[in-house]
Symmetry: C2
Subunit: 278 residues, 2 copies
């Protein structure tokens, strides 16, 4: 049985899974939107190899995303070597799926290519050592990676972002040989979900909490949060998860500095890797 | 005639538009991937209003994107007021489409909601004032916005990201009333492309330049860049654009600090807006 092929749900069913009782009425809809709504992060993969050409299709989708001023400040590293996979998993708090998945990608915020262009043309690119330019590269990589995710899911594949590669950026750079000005902003597992990896759509905050009209307005947010806590508590109970409400999860993840697992040293790491963040 | 409805192209035709002669062979493909490949940023819109419920559908798609540890650190402001639109356009170097498009969104990297949660629970969230946490919020917003873009384009709408809102983040915060810990990371125009706004698919760098295997390897990059310069020069000539090669465009955008249009002051702006970037 192919557990990775999501059924195409109606608008109402898709919205109910994503929002519970807080779902908005169904608006304009099509099969592309159903696909987007069906996203689940998957952390368990079958060993099955991907069809030939899958990587190139995913990257064509990724390169079709918008990129700031067409600067194209990202790259991607395909990591297959088991030793490198193991080393990357070690950086990322031993997430086993990094070693299991058939395709593992390191998405790179990459200013080095444009820097090489400048050097070859005999120029110093003045905008490189700025927070803005680092941010452009990180956002470019994110837009590209999200398109790759959508493309993968459309092919019956599943993905998960691995933000924990940022626990130790210099070590990731060493493992995949990044030049100065290149930063592994996140990893991504791609493959067919195993029976144990296939999960439910995770509910999100009500739209009223994230959409604001004309000006930011957090009125009603506390009440919405309590309702969402209940929704996520039911979801957690069905999955045997400990941090049952959203409130508890946020506090667990953001309350104590230890939760950053080394990422509190990112500025020093980025500066050492050739980024300026002024 | 509805110029905004892209024809569904074959894999080979889609790849040829995106890469020219450097196109990879067609791999696994479907109508979702054709849609992704057909992306064009559009800077001219008809006045036509969007169908009822469009915003809610786009945001449902956005909220279905992955979000780091389910922290959901983004918000979106819908700006309709003409005075606010004009003020935002002024920040963004007078891009007229900000005032013309039927739907304008400010995508917000938003740590303020989680901070309010902590405050209501009587806690200080220790991870908030870190570069890592700002980056998580910016990436969360980018993944969400890209899903909204895909959803919009699937409905025959077009979009363009407006990074130039970062020219003056405190002014954007003032216009849309952002609380401390919320940052307008980019804007987005959404609407039906006008005849003048409808554009060609823009060619990208060859896949060989952005994909690396096991380790980063820039061998051959210079030759690929020269070929891509030629491809983009033809594209530019067809569109009457001045900066004709990729090399010239990169140098124009990255060579001199003046091109940052105020974004060189982002660190000070972010710190003043309640972000810590340590």
């Amino acid at each position: 049985m192919d557990v990775s092929q999501p059924a195409v749900l109606s608008a109402a069913d898709s919205l109910a899974l994503r929002y519970g009782a807080a779902a908005p009425p169904a608006g304009p809809w099509n099969e592309h939107i159903s696909l987007l709504l069906s996203h689940r992060s998957v952390r368990g993969y079958r060993q099955d190899a991907l069809p030939a050409g899958t990587l190139e299709t995913l990257i064509a989708a990724a390169q079709s995303a918008a990129t700031s001023s067409n600067l194209q400040t990202w790259s991607v590293i395909v990591v297959s070597d088991p030793d490198k996979r193991a080393a990357l998993a070690k950086v990322a708090a031993n997430q086993k799926h990094i070693e299991q998945c058939p395709l593992f990608l390191v998405w790179v915020a990459d200013l080095s290519r444009n820097q090489r262009l400048g050097a070859e043309e005999g120029l110093t690119l003045e905008v490189i050592p700025y927070q803005e330019t680092f941010l452009v590269a990180a956002i470019d990589a994110a837009l590209a990676a999200q398109n790759a995710t959508v493309a993968a899911e459309s092919l019956g594949l599943s993905c998960v972002y691995i933000g924990a590669l940022r626990n130790n950026p210099p070590e990731v750079a060493r493992i995949v040989g990044l030049p100065p000005g290149a930063f592994g902003v996140f990893g991504m597992c791609v493959g067919y979900a195993s029976a144990v990896g296939a999960t439910e759509v995770k509910p999100r905050l009500p739209q009223d909490v994230v959409i604001h009209y004309e000006v930011y307005d957090s009125t009603g947010e506390s009440a919405h949060r309590k309702a969402y806590d209940g929704l996520l508590e039911s979801f957690s109970a069905r999955h045997g998860m400990a941090m049952d409400t959203w409130t508890k999860r946020v506090i667990h993840r953001m309350g104590k500095l230890a939760a950053l697992s080394g990422r509190e040293r990112m500025v020093a790491a980025l500066n050492a890797m050739g980024f300026g963040l002024k």
